[in-house]
C-alpha cells in the first residue's frame, strides 16, 4: 500500500503541477477568483473522517467491535458529506457560472484535479462500504485488523491529498 501511495502521489503531483502551471493562463473567463468559494465545512468533514477512521481501527485492534462499527459508519457519512459538497459546488459552477471542463484552462485543470480527488474519495467510500456491510454482518473482527489498517492508510492519503488540493486550488489559486 505504501508503494501504491507513492505511485498515486506522483500522479497527483503531475496534476497539481499542471494546475499551478496554468494558473492565470486562461484566455477567457471565468477565473477562480470570480467563482470559487472556500468549502470550509466540507473540508472539516473530510479531515475529521481521518480521525474517526483512525479511532475505528484502534477500536478494532482492541476488539471493541461496537465502537468500531459506529466510528466506521461515521467515517462513511463524513466522506459522503464531502462528496455531496463537491457535487454541489460543481452543480453551482456548471449551472450558475457556465464553467465546464471545456470552457477554459481553469475549467480543464480544476475539474480534472478535483475530479481525480473525488474519484479517489469515491473509490475509498466503496471500499469502506464493503467493510461496513461485512461489519454489520458480524464478519469483521480483530483478525482483519491488519487489512483495516491498510484501508485506513489509504483514507489518510486521500485526506492528505485534499489538504494539498485545498491549498493549491482555494488558497494559492485565488
Amino acid at each position: 500500500m505504501a508503494g501504491l501511495i507513492i505511485a498515486e502521489s506522483a500522479i497527483f503531483t503531475i496534476f497539481v503541477v499542471a494546475y499551478l502551471f496554468y494558473l492565470g493562463k486562461s484566455i477567457t473567463g471565468p477565473t477562480p477568483r470570480e467563482v470559487l468559494e472556500t468549502p470550509i465545512f466540507y473540508t472539516i468533514c473530510l479531515l475529521s473522517s481521518s480521525l474517526t477512521i483512525h479511532f475505528a481501527a484502534k477500536c478494532l485492534a482492541r476488539s471493541i467491535t461496537f465502537a468500531f462499527l459506529g466510528l466506521w459508519l461515521l467515517t462513511i457519512t463524513l466522506g459522503g458529506l464531502f462528496l455531496y459538497g463537491t457535487a454541489q459546488e460543481w452543480h453551482r459552477l456548471i449551472y450558475e457560472h457556465g464553467l465546464t471542463i471545456s470552457t477554459n484552462l481553469f475549467g480543464t485543470t480544476y475539474y480534472s484535479l478535483v475530479g481525480l480527488h473525488a474519484f479517489h474519495v469515491t473509490a475509498g467510500l466503496i471500499m469502506l462500504a464493503i467493510v461496513a456491510v461485512f461489519g454489520l454482518a458480524g464478519r469483521v473482527s480483530v483478525k482483519q485488523s491488519g487489512r483495516i489498517e491498510v484501508l485506513s492508510m489509504y483514507w489518510h492519503f486521500v485526506d492528505a491529498v485534499w489538504v494539498v488540493v485545498f491549498t493549491v486550488v482555494y488558497l494559492l489559486g485565488r
Binding site: 508503494g3 501504491l4 507513492i6 505511485a7 498515486e8 506522483a10 500522479i11 503531483t13 503531475i14 496534476f15 499542471a18 502551471f21 496554468y22 493562463k25 486562461s26 484566455i27 471542463i101 471545456s102 477554459n104 484552462l105 480543464t108 485543470t109 480534472s112 481525480l116
Partner: protein, 557 residues
C-alpha cells in the same frame, strides 16, 4: 502473503489434455509461469517490432524508394518505438524479475500472486489493444489505421484536429493500461523483496539482481505514473474538450514534452538497471570470482536512480529553454556518467584475474560492457547542449539510443536467456547455435548502428520517409539496412535455438554453471512451491558455502 503452508504433491502429475494445460497457463498465479508468460509475450512483440524495423530499413535502403507510402512509414516508426519500449523491453525484464527474484531471495512466490497475474494480463492486453488499432483505428472518419504521430505523440499532433479517428486513442489507452500493470508489478516486487526474504538473507546479503530490481521497481512507481497522468490529460483533451495541451486556448505543448520526458528518461534507466542486474550475476559466475565492490554497486545504482530523475529535459534542449535550465540538465546528465562508470569499472574488476569461461552468456556480457561504454560516451556528447543543438533529431541520436537499447539492453537480455534458460526449462541452449547467434548479431549490430552515426553527422534527420540522392547518404543507409537483415537472421537463429533446445537440448541438472545463488539449489525447472524447506543463508553466496563447507564465505563477512 504466502504464509500458509503448501503441501508438497507426491509425484508430478501425468500428461494432461492440452485444454487443461492451457487453462492452467491462463489462470496461473505462479510467479514462474507468469514470468515465462511475460517473456514469451515479449518475444512475440519483439518479432512484430522487428518486422516493423525491417520495413523502415527497406524503405530507407536507397533514395526515392517507394516500398511503403509516407503514411505507412509514419505508422511503422511509431509502432516500432512504442512496441519495443512498452511491450518488449518492459515485459521481458519484468518477466525475468518475476521469475528470479523470489527464487533468489528464498521465497515461495511473490507477495501478491493474484496482483501479479492481474498485472501481466493488463500489460499483455495493453499490447493487444495497441495492435487492435490496425483493425479498429479507422474510426468515424476513416482516417489512419494505426498511431502515426511518433512514439512521443508530441502535442499538438496528438490532439483531435491533427490525429482524427481512434488510432491515437488506442495508443493512449494501451500505454495507460500497461502502465497500471507496471505499477502493480513494481509494488509486488518491492513488497516481495522487503517482506519475503528467507532467514539470514539480510539486505546486504541479497543477490545484486534482487537489489537492482528493488531500485528499478521504486523508479517505476515514480516514473510510470507521470506518463499515466499525462495520458489521462490527453484523453480529457481528446474526449471532454479540455485544453491541457491546446495552445490556442492558452495551453502548452511544451508541458506535454516535460511530462512525457519526466517519465521517459527514468524509463531508460528502468530498462537498463535490470540489465546491470543480469551482468552482476553472469559476469562473476563466468569469471569464477565474487562480484567486485558489492556495496559500491548498490550505492551506484541508487545514485543512478536519484540522478536520473532530474535529467529529463536533456531531450528538450532544442525546444529553447533558458540557459540556466540548459546548464542544469547538462550537468545532471554528465553526473549520471559517474556512477555508471563505477559500475563498468566494477565489472571489469570482477573479470580481472578471474578464470574467464567464454560461454555464450559471457560473450554477450562482454559485448554489453563494450557497447554500453560507447553508448555512454555518445550520451555524454549529446549531454552538451550546444552539441545537442547540432545533432538532436538526427540519425546520430537514433544511433545513440539504439546503441543503448540494442547494444546494451538486448545484449544483456540475450546473455540472461543463455544463462537462465536451463533453469527455466531444464535444458541447455545449444552452444553452437549460440555462437552463431552471437557473432551474427554482433556483426549485424555494428554494421547497422556504428554506421548509422555517420548520416546523422552528415545531417540526415530522423523520421524522414525518403531522401534526395547525392547527399552521401545512400551507401551508408544501404549498409545500415544490410546490417539490420543480418541481425534479423541472428534473431531467427536465436528463436530456432530456443525451440530446438527445448525438445533436444542436453539435460541441465540443478546447477549447470556451478553458480552461487539460491535459484540453482532447486531442480530445473523449479517445483511449483520453489523450496520444500525454506533455506537459511549466512553469506552472499549461499551455494558456495554449501559446496565448500571447509571455506565458507560467511567466515569473511
Amino acid at each position: 502473503m504466502s504464509s500458509n503452508v503448501i503441501t508438497v504433491p507426491v509425484g508430478q502429475t501425468e500428461a494432461r489434455p492440452w485444454v487443461d494445460e492451457l487453462h492452467q497457463w491462463l489462470t496461473t498465479v505462479d510467479h514462474k509461469r507468469l514470468g515465462i508468460l511475460y517473456i514469451v509475450s515479449a518475444l512475440l512483440f519483439l518479432v512484430i517490432g522487428g518486422v516493423e524495423a525491417l520495413i523502415i530499413r527497406i524503405q530507407l535502403m536507397h533514395s526515392h524508394n517507394n516500398f511503403v507510402s509516407p503514411e505507412v512509414f509514419n505508422r511503422m516508426f511509431t509502432m516500432h518505438g512504442t512496441t519495443m519500449i512498452f511491450f518488449v523491453a518492459m515485459p521481458v525484464l519484468f518477466g525475468f524479475a518475476n521469475y528470479l527474484v523470489p527464487l533468489m531471495i528464498g521465497a515461495r512466490d511473490m507477495a501478491f500472486p493474484r496482483l501479479n497475474a492481474f498485472s501481466f494480463w493488463l500489460s499483455f492486453l495493453g499490447g493487444l489493444l495497441l495492435y487492435f488499432s490496425f483493425l479498429g483505428g479507422s474510426g468515424l472518419y476513416g482516417a489512419g489505421n494505426a498511431p502515426d504521430v511518433g512514439w512521443w505523440s508530441y502535442a499538438p499532433l496528438g490532439a483531435r484536429a491533427f490525429s482524427p479517428g481512434h488510432s491515437s486513442d488506442y495508443w493512449t489507452l494501451a500505454l495507460l493500461v500497461s502502465g497500471f500493470g507496471s505499477i502493480g508489478t513494481a509494488i509486488n516486487i518491492i513488497a516481495t523483496i522487503l517482506c519475503l526474504r528467507c532467514p539470514g538473507m539480510k539486505l546486504n546479503r541479497m543477490p545484486l539482481l534482487a537489489w537492482l530490481n528493488l531500485v528499478m521497481a521504486g523508479m517505476v512507481l515514480l516514473a510510470i505514473t507521470p506518463l499515466s497522468a499525462a495520458q489521462i490529460m490527453l484523453l480529457i483533451d481528446r474526449y471532454l474538450g479540455g485544453h491541457f495541451f491546446d495552445t490556442q486556448a492558452g495551453g502548452s505543448a511544451v508541458l506535454w514534452m516535460h511530462f512525457f520526458w519526466i517519465f521517459l528518461h527514468p524509463e531508460v534507466y528502468i530498462l537498463i538497471i535490470p540489465c546491470f542486474a543480469f551482468m552482476s550475476e553472469i559476469i562473476p559466475v563466468f569469471s569464477r570470482k565474487p562480484i567486485f565492490g558489492y556495496p559500491v554497486m548498490v550505492a551506484a545504482t541508487v545514485c543512478i536512480a536519484f540522478v536520473s530523475m532530474s535529467v529529463w529535459a536533456h531531450h528538450m534542449f532544442t525546444i529553447g529553454m533558458n540557459s540556466y535550465a540548459n546548464s542544469f540538465f547538462t550537468l545532471t546528465t554528465m553526473a549520471v556518467g559517474v556512477p555508471t562508470g563505477i559500475k563498468i569499472f566494477n565489472w571489469i574488476g570482477t573479470m580481472w584475474g578471474g578464470r574467464i569461461q567464454f560461454k555464450t552468456a559471457m560473450l554477450f556480457s562482454i559485448a554489453f560492457l563494450f557497447q554500453f561504454l560507447i553508448a555512454g560516451l555518445t550520451g555524454i556528447m549529446m549531454a552538451c547542449s550546444p552539441f545537442d543543438w547540432q545533432l538532436s533529431l538526427s540519425y546520430f541520436v537514433v544511433a545513440h539510443f539504439h546503441y543503448v537499447i540494442v547494444g546494451g539492453i538486448l545484449f544483456a537480455l540475450f546473455g540472461a536467456f543463455y544463462y537462465w534458460y536451463p533453469k527455466m526449462t531444464g535444458r541447455m541452449l545449444s552452444e553452437r547455435l549460440g555462437q552463431w547467434h552471437f557473432w551474427l548479431f554482433l556483426i549485424g549490430f555494428h554494421l547497422t548502428f556504428d554506421v548509422m552515426h555517420i548520416p546523422g553527422i552528415l545531417g540526415m534527420p530522423r523520421r524522414i520517409y525518403t531522401y534526395e540522392p547525392g547527399r552521401g547518404w545512400d551507401t551508408l543507409n544501404l549498409i545500415v539496412s544490410i546490417g539490420a537483415f543480418i541481425q534479423a537472421v541472428a534473431i531467427l537463429v536465436f528463436v530456432a535455438n530456443l525451440i530446438v533446445s527445448y525438445f533436444k537440448g542436453a539435460k541441465a541438472g540443478n546447477d549447470p554453471w556451478d553458480a552461487w545463488t539460491l535459484e540453482w539449489s532447486v531442480s530445473s525447472p523449479p517445483p511449483a512451491y520453489n523450496f520444500a524447506t525454506v533455506p537459511t543463508v549466512s553469506s552472499r553466496r549461499p551455494l558456495w558455502d554449501l559446496k565448500h563447507p571447509e571455506d565458507p564465505d560467511s567466515r569473511y563477512e
